[in-house]
Symmetry: C2
Subunit: 456 residues, 2 copies
């Protein structure tokens, strides 16, 4: 066979051990906090039937689905009078697609397993998704999503809980963040106040761009979307509002006094922020009336999290929805959820140098190999260390010591044990601390204590 | 939109929380042991270029690849004079496929990242693979593989290490297993002894069926594959050999005395088994001359693991190979590896009722919700428990206590806390042990100690 220069498909990535331990540091932290609040893991297949996926992400989304070719004779049953028609062929040759996000598969899952689940159902899901997007810096065709949702309850306690979870995760990752909170009903109230409740989507899509493009352009876009000058004028004080949370609420009480929906939004937001105030969060919470996230299915609270002191944008976001599963035949299934962007979090931690050094040293002890007899001796010592939970390796052959030391060095192994004939006779081990260069002669029991991470 | 009855593609599965905690119990155990021996995680993309995948799994394997439809106009550049030709179309419309196993992507990875890696490179990889197989009981189109390999060394110490890892994993899973060991060079020696070294593949394919079909049929197959009666007669004592490991070695010394390859195989097997003898394994080790695994790329040690007292076959297997990466342009890359079959291990643990009960209770404490005031009080208590690492939930609304209790019951939550006005005033918590029914009145600090898994 011809020799091939190996590569991966564009927009996809390999993860080397160094990247994996950092990614796992993020994933493990996220998962451990999810568990602490009683959320349970699920997984769904990488492929879904196209009938499950199409029509759920808009026309653009449908184009970005990766479709899987049917097995066997792909033209079997194809109406050949249609000839070589791309669209007809694409539909005929494929009936499955790769997961585009975790929300639609989760909705399908809830409906399909509704009789096995305990509601309110608190689940988390950490799996890759695939999108046939144009690859660019920081955007990939395969990436992980970490979603946490609770469905089957309207209780605002879950909004509070999700903000606590978010705070807890970034506290453990030692990252300063601001949790932005808004409420879809407040936005709807503002659209009503402007006299254009039916323009809510247009208004939120434009508002969503505030901070990315200048105010004038946002207002221009509102005009383009059919909002008259008079209505735009009414919206301006809302979207340019500054001040403390209390000041914002005072403004809203007055501004939204003519909208029942708006008043309900204020009540919900106030309840969530008040409860959060008593929980001693590390993160700053901001009532952010500009937060819209452009997603129509949110009906209540909206979340977005940004790391402070970096240009990297939103690192997680979510909100409350009223009807997750109606499309699959199960109406009235409310819920609230947040999605953590692992790649963005990775980039932020990298930029701020917040990955702990210790996670890179995965093996703690390397035993130098002096030959067959010494090998048997150190195998016993390595077994003792492993039994104590200390990751240990034996170099596989009696190469030059310099080469063996280089292996320890490149793998960032902090301790090297040299045990030759002399040591074997005395049942002692010479331990070298690779950072300080210090050498000690220790008994097997002393070795365990010396290299244990807890007693370092 | 029309309502759809939701389902997953055939041969794929959802995993509910109950299944996930069991699966994670297996995966976490496997991963923690891999780490203890200095193996590092990697991940590769779900999709690979078809040029990486095709031709690596034989003609049958190529048919079982899931191919991904190209994005955009799939007929762009198609030679329309070829018309509606299934094969030509299938090749034209798809240039990527889903990972079929972890070995070929690993080989590609090693070549592509050779200058970043430290050799010997010890890696593990736990990811799903996809095969367009006919779905049947216990065989899926999406399933996880857990592979552990070391490449870049001929040292037999790694064979010993992989057997130790295997033993360590099944010891932690509390499962009795037999590790079957053979050596490809011993099989090659037997083919030489029979006078048909070029029939090695035919002989191993037939031998591989011993135990599944009667000896006569195996011999019949050998004849069909062109081995004359005289040669078959010579093979019979080899494949029917019974006895202790020492007896088997004594037989082989004599039987393979005319084959240099065979003698090398004996030496390797003896070395591995001798070293393993000194490591105090829990598993039984068996020199199993019938073990062939039908895979041509193994060149030395061959492993297979079976659980005792079950009809479920091999639960993990592997071996040594001389040339992992030649096909991708990097020759002389020897290695040895083992693959753990997560689904089979799951089935065995299930059958033998070996999943610990404790892994199912993921939340330890549920706080009953008596209303807004009590909610604030128990939020503080729940925060204390979580800070102590104890997974805790608050019921989201003040429903009937019976309903809240039922939630705890169905989620197998072992402790329920009832804190009403009375308790709030005294800063005490009434704790109910859901298993014994016993109730206690405790201070917040006492609660932490009482519900902590360590003091139970």
């Amino acid at each position: 066979m011809a020799i091939q220069k190996p590569s991966v498909p564009k927009g996809t990535r390999d993860f080397t051990p160094e990247e994996m331990v950092r990614r796992n540091y993020i994933f493990d932290t996220i998962r451990s906090v999810f568990k602490l609040y009683g959320y349970l893991p699920i997984e769904t297949p990488a492929m879904e039937n196209l009938s499950t996926l199409t029509g759920k992400y808009g026309e653009e989304g449908d184009k970005l689905l990766f479709r899987i070719l049917n097995s066997g004779d792909i033209l079997d049953g194809y109406d050949s009078t249609k000839g070589l028609d791309t669209k007809a062929l694409a539909i005929h040759v494929s009936e499955k697609g790769l997961r585009y996000d975790l929300t639609v598969p989760f909705a399908r899952f809830v409906v399909q397993h509704q009789h096995e689940l305990v509601f309110p159902f608190k689940r988390y899901q950490v799996q890759p998704v695939w999108r046939a997007d144009r690859p660019q810096k920081g955007r990939y065709r395969e990436f992980y999503q970490c979603d946490v949702d609770v469905v089957g309850s309207y209780s605002l306690l879950y909004e509070v809980e999700l903000a606590q979870i978010t705070d807890d995760i970034f506290r453990r990752l030692n990252l300063d963040v601001v949790i932005h909170i808004n409420n879809r009903k407040i936005l709807a109230g503002a659209a009503e106040t402007a006299g254009y409740p039916d323009k809510l989507t247009d208004i939120t899509v434009a508002i969503d761009k505030l901070g990315k493009i200048p105010l004038e352009k946002v207002l221009g876009e509102l005009a383009e979307r059919g909002l008259p000058g008079e209505a735009i004028e009414k919206v301006v004080p809302f979207i340019t509002l500054e001040g403390s949370t209390d000041e914002k609420f005072r403004f809203l009480e007055d501004y939204l006094s003519g909208s029942e929906t708006g008043k309900k939004g204020i009540e919900e937001a106030r309840h969530v922020l008040t409860l959060l105030g008593g929980t001693g969060l590390r993160a700053n919470i901001e009532l952010d009336l500009k937060l819209a996230r452009g997603l129509n299915y949110y009906t209540g609270t909206i979340f977005e999290v940004k790391a402070t002191g970096t240009s990297i944008g939103s690192i997680c976001g979510g909100g409350r929805y009223d009807d997750l599963t109606g499309i699959f035949g199960l109406p009235n299934m409310p819920g609230v959820g947040i999605s953590f962007g692992a790649d963005r979090i990775y980039d932020v931690l990298n930029e701020k140098n917040l990955f702990p050094e210790t996670i890179l040293a995965t093996t703690r002890v390397l035993f130098i190999n002096f030959g067959p007899e010494e090998e048997k001796f150190v195998m016993k010592q390595a077994a003792l260390l492993r039994a104590a939970g200390i990751p240990s390796e034996i170099y596989p052959s009696a190469e030059k010591i310099r080469k063996q030391m280089e292996y320890a060095d490149r793998k960032k192994i902090p301790f090297v044990v040299l045990a030759g004939k002399d040591e074997m006779e005395k049942n002692l081990l010479t331990v070298k601390n690779m950072q300080t260069g210090e050498q000690q002669s220790l008994s097997p029991g002393e070795l365990v204590r010396t290299v244990s991470p807890r007693t370092e």
